[in-house]
């Protein structure tokens, strides 16, 4: 028996032993079939796993459907082919488990002997299998239930790459015939090897015989004269690396056995980088050992990673940009314009400072410390304002600086300036972030001017994000609904509903934000009208950002209306025994169905007589109807189009856009508005919105509660 067949036999026996354990009953192995592997098509069913790496091969377990049915205890007499076919799902699972158990235990042995291998997922096959003419082993196991074939197939092409495998074969007593066969197939190995592969002598010259893919991986013509070329030239790296590489090779060859290779391999000047032919080339040194442990030669495996790195960096950029934009917009909507302005100002300043230091490339420790501090502050600020993307960038730059700063011999590191370059790139990237923040802020809202429009405006991008969120919530909800009709368990349904609610909640913002903008609208409007007013918000919670925009528009109108018409001048207020400063409030309440917002002022109240006169004047009510109209009826008239109680067009209200607009806007959300007034005491506008529209997440949360 040859060494190879011995290896196959040992291995196959090993895995078959595992199968025996798996099947759970004693089986006898027919070892006479080893290395005569002819696949037995009569079995009709097999599962196989394919592995690839230094060698290629397959391991398979095969049996008839009848035997499989018996082994899983599903067999009963009189079963026909159709019955068996209907059990194929079960067979597949059983076979895969059997295979995984047996191969799983044998893999460490395979990997030890054949270098790293990749195992592809097992496949179940029905019908005939075609096996190539390659060394293989088969063991047939028998017991009272039937027979199982276990195959172990090795594709030995390229086998000779691994010295370890040669050693295995030699250790098993390799025959002379097989040794010569092995030598013959070195060339076929070089043909098939997927990366570039060359052998480098102690002077850096490429030895004859090299992997067929080598020219491609380094960007040379197929027929380039590679043997004799210097390795640096082959890789297309700069000539400045030649002398360093030569020195390195000299030390590696001379000091073999004295200095561990792992200590020295990192000192090689050759490392992944873009070459003169525009490819990103990744070289990796592999020492080849002779039998006595001496260095036989150095091989260089070369991989062209251009496309890989490009795709990686594109993906990284894209996903980062997307995340950042979402984050930026979210924060802009949440922050006050002044805060953003300050943040942009501070951050730009810090980055400018950092950039100046990096530009000078000064390696004075004092400069490094200043640089570190600037970036550290930037990190703190962005954390404070929840700009996570910027915070992350700042952290990376900070780490890079820290690496320089913490070196014990930091003056001598970064001789080529590459660390500084990295830091500079980081700073530029962060600068881009801050510029984008400023740009988006500009698009999202104009500072100071048209405060009322600030929240209303938005970029199409924000709208897209919002509808995306809606889409996510809706699709999760769709799954929930489907699950419900299929009778999924309540815990799963509740989890799905929570997930939909969380997604929907991404659209929601804090009502306090509305309070903040109304606060400034009240202050500024009162100032311009020569009145005094303060604003208070009662109640809180979250609200859909789109609904908030609509409410904001309505409330700005109501504020103007109240301050212009309702609120008295300070003198009038004092004369009537009120506090000089009027109070405008917004109260928010919600129950299970509705969100109620009450906007009220403590002004003079609505002049019902004036409303009555105006209604007749504008032809909104017949004179007779008007004189008998109830208070409620009259107040409703105020919400009709074309109604305005003011004689003169005021600066803020009464521009032809009346309460009718407010009513329409609320109606578009399924809401209503009513008003109440007490003469001399003030008036109130009561707005009601369906909860599902105002706070979308509640729609799903109710399901969770239920």
């Amino acid at each position: 028996m040859t060494a190879l067949t011995e290896y196959v036999r040992t291995f196959a026996n090993n895995v078959c032993g595992n199968v025996r354990d798996m099947v759970g009953c004693e089986m006898t192995a027919d070892e006479s079939s080893v290395c005569q592997a002819k696949f037995n098509p009569d079995r009709g069913m097999a599962v196989m796993i394919h592995f690839t790496g230094a060698i290629q091969g397959e391991y398979a377990v095969s049996m008839t459907e009848e035997v499989a049915a018996k082994m899983i205890g599903a067999w009963s007499d009189g079963m026909g082919p159709d019955d068996l076919r209907s059990m194929r799902g079960d067979f597949g699972g059983f076979l895969k488990e059997a295979l995984n158990t047996s191969v799983g235990q044998a893999i460490p042995g395979l990997e030890r002997d054949f270098d790293a291998l990749t195992f592809l997922p097992p496949v179940v096959i029905y019908g005939e299998l075609e096996y190539p003419e390659v060394p293989s082993g088969k063991i047939t196991l028998k017991n009272e239930l039937g027979e199982v074939d276990c195959y172990f197939v090795l594709n030995m092409m390229g086998l000779e790459l691994g010295e370890r495998l040669q050693a295995v074969i030699q250790a098993l007593g390799e025959s002379a015939r097989e040794a010569s066969a092995a030598k013959r197939s070195v060339s076929s190995m070089l043909e098939a090897f997927p990366a570039g592969l060359v052998s480098v002598d102690r002077h850096g010259k490429i030895r004859p015989g090299y992997g067929r893919k080598t020219p491609d991986t380094v960007g040379l013509e197929r027929d380039a004269a590679i043997p004799g070329m210097h390795v640096v030239e082959l890789l297309g790296y700069g000539e400045d690396l030649v002398s360093g590489t030569d020195k390195w090779l000299e030390v590696v060859y001379d000091k073999w056995g004295v200095i561990p290779f792992k200590d020295i391999v990192g000192l090689s000047p050759i490392a992944e980088s873009i070459n003169a032919r525009g490819l990103v080339v990744r070289p990796e040194w592999v020492p080849l050992l002779a039998d006595d442990g001496k260095l036989d030669g150095l091989m260089l495996m070369i991989e062209d990673v251009t496309e890989k790195r490009r795709v990686e960096s594109e993906m990284k950029k894209l996903s980062r940009l997307h995340e950042e934009n979402m984050e930026l917009m979210g924060q802009i909507v949440n922050l006050e314009p002044d805060e953003i302005q300050d943040f942009v100002y501070d951050s730009s300043g810090l980055l400018k400072e950092a950039e100046n230091i990096v530009e000078t490339a000064n390696r004075d420790r004092k400069f490094i410390d200043t640089l570190y501090r600037a970036v550290h502050t930037l990190k703190g600020n962005s954390g404070q304002f929840q700009f996570k993307g910027l915070q992350h960038m700042a952290m990376e730059i900070e780490n890079d600086i820290a690496k320089l700063r913490d070196q014990q011999e930091w003056e001598s590191v970064d001789e080529d300036g590459s660390e500084f370059k990295k830091i500079r790139e980081g700073i530029e990237e962060a600068g881009g972030y801050v510029r984008r923040l400023e740009e988006l802020r500009g698009k999202l809202g104009q500072r100071d001017e048209k405060l009322d429009e600030k929240v209303v405006r938005s970029t199409p991008a924000v709208m897209t994000q919002l509808s995306d969120i809606e889409g996510v919530a809706a699709s999760v909800w769709g799954i929930h609904q489907a699950g419900k009709s299929l009778g999924w368990n309540p815990a799963t349904l509740s989890m799905l509903a929570s997930a939909a609610a969380s997604a929907a909640a991404l659209r929601e913002v804090d009502l306090a934000r509305l309070g903040r903008t109304l606060q400034s609208v009240v202050t500024k409007t009162a100032q311009r009208l020569g009145k005094k007013a303060s604003f208070a918000l009662a109640g809180g919670g979250t609200i859909d950002v789109e609904v908030l925009r609509v409410l904001h528009r309505c409330l700005v109108h109501l504020v103007n209306n109240s301050l212009d018409h309702g609120l008295e001048t300070p003198q009038e207020r004092i004369a009537s025994g009120k506090l000089e400063t009027g109070l405008v409030t917004l109260e928010c309440r919600r129950d299970r169905q509705e969100l109620e917002l009450v906007f009220s002022d403590d002004g003079r109240g609505i002049d019902l007589e004036a409303v009555r006169r105006k209604a007749i004047e504008k032809g909104l009510l017949e004179e007779a109807a008007a004189s008998s109209a109830s208070e409620e009826k009259l107040l409703d008239v105020m919400f009709l189009p074309g109604f305005s109680t003011r004689e003169k067009v005021g600066e803020f209200s009464g521009r032809g856009v009346g309460l009718d607009m407010v009513k329409d806007a609320l109606a578009s959300l399924g809401g209503t508005i009513h008003t109440r007034t007490v003469s001399g005491k003030g008036s109130a506008f009561v707005m009601r919105l369906p909860l599902a529209a105002a706070i979308p997440s509640t729609r799903y949360l109710m399901e969770v509660d239920a």
Binding site: G244, K247, V251, P260, G266, L267, P269, Q407, E409, S412
Partner: protein, 126 residues
């Protein structure tokens, strides 16, 4: 009898860490700690330790010169370079007869690094 080691580094903090590593992890006896190349040569003459760990960038006399001087006088000396410096200087030291190289920073909290370090020390003695 435990093996002896001389530690040479201009950072006393690092020297302590390296000394602690050799004492507790490898059972060495630290016979001296030098702060520059001059002290390295003197301490070597005095103690003739089994091993020297040598920093490269140091005041007064750098590690490369110290390695050269020690090996000229004592060709059997076992010296390991421990430095943040990469490239030619290290290669020259190795060429001159240093027997190992550990790159700074020294990550003693990383078990892989510690294993690596131990192995390098082992190989210096094999």
């Amino acid at each position: 009898m435990p093996k002896s080691v001389l530690i040479v580094d201009d950072s006393s903090f690092l020297s302590k860490q390296i000394a602690e590593f050799f004492t507790s992890q490898l059972g060495f006896q630290v016979v001296g700690i030098g702060k520059d190349g001059n002290e390295a040569v003197e301490l070597y003459r005095k103690h003739k330790p089994d091993l020297v760990t040598m920093d490269l960038t140091m005041p007064n006399k750098d590690g490369k010169t110290a390695i050269h001087e020690i090996l000229t006088e004592f060709p059997e000396a076992r010296i390991m370079v421990i430095s943040a410096v990469k490239g030619n200087t290290v290669l020259e030291c190795l060429n001159r007869g240093a027997k190992g190289y550990i790159e700074k920073p020294l990550k003693f909290s990383d078990p892989l690094f510690v294993e690596d370090f131990k192995q390098s020390v082992d190989e210096v003695f094999n």
